[in-house]
């Protein structure tokens, strides 16, 4: 018999009923899965990335299944922050869970404009900066590729909001710890690790890259080891909380990420196959914790890091 367990965790000042959040880009703006998942059961929902103005996104095909993974090249299609606040945020505000708004931009100013607009909205519990967007000023190299630019956008956003500020790290760098250090010093309250891994598929019949956007971001179980390694490295480097993401499907996966140093996790691609994945994980967590000899999820955080008993 599994005893009832308090699954609460904290990511800085943000308290979550449990450590499982829906990952940005895989859960729409909230209503899409409302009939299929009990949103109030989730630790939180990270909404799809929003920009100052609508972004059209990339030509299809936008997804391609790979071995144990999924390549996507959606191109961050979104209706813009104004339409998001008007049409979707009221729904999220009533969903009974924490609301994280993922913010995208092509310039530092664009990120700031989105965050400034969100200041008027009480429903936002945290901001998640997607720094994997191409930086127009730097010829399209993403903000997250370089510690200086990653810190620049983080500091600029920090200056316009007191809200909890999470920065989502790209794995497509040699040393994610350097980016992590830079954004932590620039005022980030937590880090999300990782965003998708750059990849490509070829459509044999058409003799062309399979995705309309040519290359894309790989997600799903294929990238779990990559994500675990980044979380493990980053958690040792910075003093702020880390949210683990990458290929999570089970309560055991959650425990692995927490042992590697994550305070909470996000689930994305697994929802496509089974919309009840997150609820199932939350249901399975108490039994998993018991089997691992942990009294609460917090007991696991960083258990695998060097120097721990």
């Amino acid at each position: 018999m599994v005893k009832p367990v308090n699954l609460e965790v904290a990511v800085g000042t943000v308290r979550l009923a449990n450590p499982v959040l829906a990952a940005s880009g895989t859960f729409g703006f909230g209503p899409e899965y409302a009939g299929l998942a009990n949103l109030a059961r989730l630790g939180g929902i990270a909404a799809k990335g929003v920009s100052p103005h609508p972004w059209p996104g990339n030509p299809p095909p936008r997804v391609w299944e790979t071995e144990s993974g999924l390549l996507n090249s959606i191109g961050l299609q979104n209706p813009g922050v104004e339409a998001f606040c008007r049409e979707y945020l009221p729904f999220l505000a009533r969903a009974g869970t924490r609301v994280v708004v993922n913010v995208i931009g092509r310039t530092v100013d664009e990120y700031c404009r989105v965050v400034e607009r969100l200041e008027a909205e009480a429903a936002v519990d945290a901001i998640e900066l997607n720094i994997s967007c191409p930086n127009i000023k730097e010829g399209g190299l993403s903000f997250g590729q370089d510690p200086v630019h990653a810190a620049e956008v983080t500091a600029a956003v920090r200056a316009v909001t007191q809200r909890p500020l999470w920065v989502k790290l790209s794995p497509n760098v040699t040393e994610p710890e350097r980016i992590a250090e830079a954004v932590a010093a620039a005022g980030a309250d937590a880090l999300t690790a990782i965003n998708t891994v750059l990849g490509m598929a070829i459509d044999l019949k058409r003799r062309r890259p399979a995705l309309g956007g040519l290359s894309g971001g790989l997600s799903g179980p294929a990238i779990k080891p990559i994500a675990l390694r980044v979380v493990y490295q980053v958690a040792q480097t910075v003093g702020i909380p880390v949210i683990g993401i990458g290929g999570i499907r089970t309560a055991e996966d959650v425990a692995e990420f927490m042992m590697a140093g994550a305070s909470a996790v996000m689930v994305g691609t697994a929802t496509f196959s089974d919309p009840s994945t997150m609820e199932r994980i939350i249901e399975d967590l108490p039994g998993c914790l018991q089997r691992l000899g942990a009294k609460s999820p917090s007991d696991l955080i960083g258990a695998a890091l060097p120097g721990r008993p």
Binding site: G28, G35, L36, V63, I74, F272
Partner: protein
């Protein structure tokens, strides 16, 4: 409209219907209540589900059919599922065909594995259409044609084309469609098939008021969340992407931008 749900449907039967094509009947009154043109997102061992349109909707016995071509590991797995087992499907999803107008001649244009949703439409609405009904069914070869007998059991005018002439007339469905359109300027046309075929149908039937196309596109979530399966449509401020899974898969031809 039936709300989409995860249904663990009992498999009534699975049978091969053409080379590399299978049809499965699922026992579920919930699915059988779907609109023709809607689809289910079938869970397979892979990362993504597989979207498959309803091939028949038997509301009396509470059975819904799905018909697919084996193209990869997911559809291969599906064709080996045993009768009596359970299949995890998410559905019914999307916007199906509108009901046809009773007094307009009706033409159903199906290409390859696009034929099945048109049979579901004929099954549900055939008796309510008083004007003549025509089906034009095409495939690359005769041994890839599906559901021709099902159509022939319901209507007299079923025309078949194959690219190589191995069954019916040699050529594509567009030839018979052009004849039909000339004879029935006020007709209504429902089509499903490969995207290039649908583009030609839209072109050929420009100016016809009621032309409805069921589209296919690489799909992610199936419920409108991931914005993967988009198609270019006419928006208020110019062309915009719409979701095949949620805004479609059936679109009026005049909504789309080719």
């Amino acid at each position: 409209m039936t709300q989409p749900a995860i249904v663990k449907a009992k498999i009534h039967s699975v049978r091969p219907v053409a080379v590399g094509h299978f049809e499965m009947l699922l026992e579920s009154s919930q699915l059988a209540a779907a609109d023709p043109g809607q689809f289910v997102h079938v869970r397979t061992p892979g990362t993504l589900r597989r979207p498959i349109s309803f091939s028949r909707l038997d509301r009396v016995h509470g059975r819904a059919g799905i018909l697919w071509q084996v193209v990869g590991a997911g559809t291969g797995w599906l064709s080996q599922q045993p009768t009596g087992g359970r299949l995890d499907v998410l559905g019914p999803l999307g916007r199906g065909f509108p009901a046809p107008e009773a007094d307009r001649p009706w033409c159903l244009i199906g290409g390859g594995v696009g034929i099945p949703p048109l049979f579901a439409a004929l099954q549900i609405w055939g008796d309510s259409v008083r004007a003549p009904i025509t089906a034009v069914l095409g495939a690359r070869r005769g041994d890839l044609l599906v559901m021709v007998d099902d159509f022939r059991n319901r209507i007299g005018d079923v025309q078949v084309t194959t690219d190589d002439g191995s069954q019916g007339g040699q050529g594509t469905v567009l030839g018979p469609l052009a004849h039909w359109r000339a004879r029935h300027p006020n007709g209504q046309i429902y089509a499903c098939g490969p995207t290039p075929m649908l583009a030609e149908v839209a072109q050929l039937c420009r100016g016809v008021e009621r032309v409805y196309l069921a589209l296919e596109q690489r799909m992610g979530c199936g419920v409108g969340a991931c914005l993967a399966c988009v198609v270019l449509a006419q928006g208020k401020q110019g062309p915009e992407w719409r979701r095949v899974c949620h805004d479609g898969p059936v679109f009026a031809a005049k909504e789309l931008v080719w």
